[in-house]
Symmetry: C2
Subunit: 141 residues, 2 copies
């Protein structure tokens, strides 16, 4: 059953992590788990040093510079009861140049949402504009 | 920390669901949660009637017919302890025409792995060949 846009937005605000998919020139698509925060129609995704990375310039950023289109998928999984499954997918467009105010708002939300960033701040925030929102639920509730 | 190919393959075999990302002409990328089974270098993804869908011809199939490249991401999430996070990403190529034997093997694996299909069989199986495997773990173990 399709989820209403209001319900999809509420789930996107409340959920704690998702899968960011971006366009990769050779592989077609890339996908990676991310944490995020939502402010109005912007999704903020931190580039951090908490989860160790091989490089500070991430493949997801190279992908977005080449093609700004992306999706963020959030989901609920239940191995025993598939009627309880749901997912929400936000269609996104990376903002190469956001305003200082936008980055500050997203950064504050991320620090409030994830205690891990209180001890070890992220390096910067990727800002992506929500251009579409859809979702599916296994039941009609 | 990068996960070894052997470890990535073991996690892919053992895990119970993932996110399939495909190329979408307009959106750039699509992503949807899926269940799956692995047989040698093939991933089988059922098209089922258990989880209600709006249509029996799925967007993911239309995407794969237009561009056979895809990825399957599996992940472990732990909100409290990010050192326990891991993910594995299989780079895939959809097989338009697999052998009957391949489809049968994947179908049998799916029925063994998910009891939901014992009462309500899936309609068919999408077969995708693994062309790459990479992964990341928050700790060095």
């Amino acid at each position: 059953m399709r989820i209403t846009p209001d319900k999809a937005r509420a789930l996107l605000h409340a959920h704690d992590h998702g899968i960011l998919s971006t366009v990769h020139v050779e592989r077609g698509v890339d996908a990676v788990p991310v944490v995020y925060a939502v402010s109005d129609d912007l999704v903020g995704i931190p580039v951090d040093q908490v989860k160790p990375k091989a490089s500070t310039v991430l493949q997801r950023e190279r992908n977005l510079r080449a093609d700004p289109r992306a999706t963020l998928l959030i989901e609920h999984w239940d191995p025993a009861d598939w009627s309880r499954l749901w997912w929400v997918r936000a269609t996104l467009r990376w903002q190469a140049e956001g305003s200082d105010e936008e980055y500050r708002a997203l950064g504050n939300l991320l620090e409030g949402k994830y205690e891990q960033y209180r001890d070890q701040p992220f390096a910067r925030v990727l800002a992506l504009r929500i251009t579409g929102l859809t979702g599916w639920s296994g039941d009609s509730g």
